[in-house]
Amino acid sequence: MVLTADFADAQSVASAIRALKARGYGADEIDVFSTAPIQEAQALLERPSRMSLVAITSAVVFCLSAIAFVHYTQHDYRIVTGGMPIFSWWSTGVIFYEFTMFGSLTATFVMFLLESGLLQRGRAIPAPRLEEGRIYLRLICQAGDAVPAAEYLYEAGAAKVDEIEERP
């Protein structure tokens, strides 16, 4: 069962989230939709993120791969270096640095796509159509809990609570 509550301001949404969390609903069951970011909702829902960890891991992987690749290519076809080393950290450090940053940038972008859910095509639960100045709270609950949950939402200041159908 999916409920969508319509709110006029961020404080009411924050109250609703607090009330729902107090009654055992988790961040996975609650989504807030708006035409601009709502800091209060983001702070209360505390969604975990692995973006930094993945970005750093990707940076290390890209850096090590670049080192291995450059080392291999420089030894695979040896260019005359006039007595200088075939493989040198000084002369290839820039390449490693750029690969490191490239890995970090692309990983951040990929993590954005994953964590925002933009890559999840054909979602079962439709998102509400946004109207300017309104904030929508979507709650996934058991069919039997829908009535009390709607009451909590009205108590928190929802102007309207609708039940919406999940896509098959």
Partner: protein, 435 residues
Amino acid sequence: MDTAVATRADNLRATLWRPLTGASRAYIAALALTFLLGAWGLACWGYQIFRGIGVAGIRRPTMWGFYLVNFVFWIGISHAGTLISAILRLTDAGWRKPVTRIAEAITVFALMIGAMFPIIHLGRPLVFFWLIPYPNSRLLWPNFRSPLLWDLTAIVTYLSGSIIYLYLPMIPDLAELAQHSTGWRERFYRLLSIGWTGSDRQWHALERAMHRMAGMILAVAVSVHTVVAWDFAMAVAPLWHSTIFGPYFVAGAIFSGIAALLVVLSIIRRLLHLEAYVLPVHFDNLGKLLFLMSLLWFYFTVAENLTTWYGNSPAEMNVFGSRVRGPFAPYFWVMICCNFVLPFLLLSSRRMRTIRNVTIAAFTVLIGMWLERYLIILPTLSYPRLAAATGFYEPTWVEISITASTFAAMVMFYLIFCKLFPAIAVWEYKNGSHR
């Protein structure tokens, strides 16, 4: 329905999305003119490929001419956007809102143009892909020790990062545009908005990603122009082999980048009627930054030239002399006027920092910075260590045409961009409106 918020949002959309619809005669004329100039540049490049690189003015000893000057100049301009936008985002400067997207778009277009020049400069541009490390039929690998390969990796990283950095904060606007558009525009915006619904997960992920990317892109932007500086500094050539070339180039790039941003901001403000959003305070703040960078640039220039003069090395003094009192002196002193004297006069006092004066100062800085790139490259090549090899360079009509066409291409890209995407982020203005 909260009518006040809705009305404000309607007004925002009405103003910021107005340029997306319809096209005035002036717009079509400007687009046609820049397209023709761009096409002329491509034709000239085709002529150069057909006849050979000899149709350009580059010849021994000046093997780098306008093309490399333009390369360094455009890469410098590219620092306008991503770098300035990243600094403003990281410091959470409240006045950044109308500036960031305009700046980020400059970066992408300037990088695209700048990255073309090493290829145009190649004698056999059709085999430029030999730079890409892949196991080819000759079993050769590119020489990763070469600064040319450093350039390739740095520019590819910066361009990829800048495109992502421009695209990410545009997604919410694209979704809203899709909701309010019809026909091909709706399909186009819906495709680009990749299913954005405005959920808190998406906003949270966007803000996290933008914050992290701002930090990363700063590091990449600094590295890119340092690498461009090292293209020169790694050669044991008079006045190139300098330890301060990296920071000198980065400072110059930020300087020219701010100038480009101010010129574009001024034009866009007038043409797209964004007077209510791009305010005098933006020009005042960016004018202060430009003034600061002008002082920093002057400090670096004095430091670079003073140490050369005291060193009194014959090879370096040849180049130094050619710059300050020889054949390149007119360019040198015009550069000093454009990059230091005029900005000092126009930007040092608050009363003088009007929109018009800041724009004039920024325009002169662009001229001065192009001349600076010219003066870094040409005198050193014209007066190499072997005195008998001295030679002069004069650009040909092919090089001048290609140079002019890239400026036209920049304008054309921007005209198209402003017709397809809002120049200012609507959602950033709505941020906090729910409180």
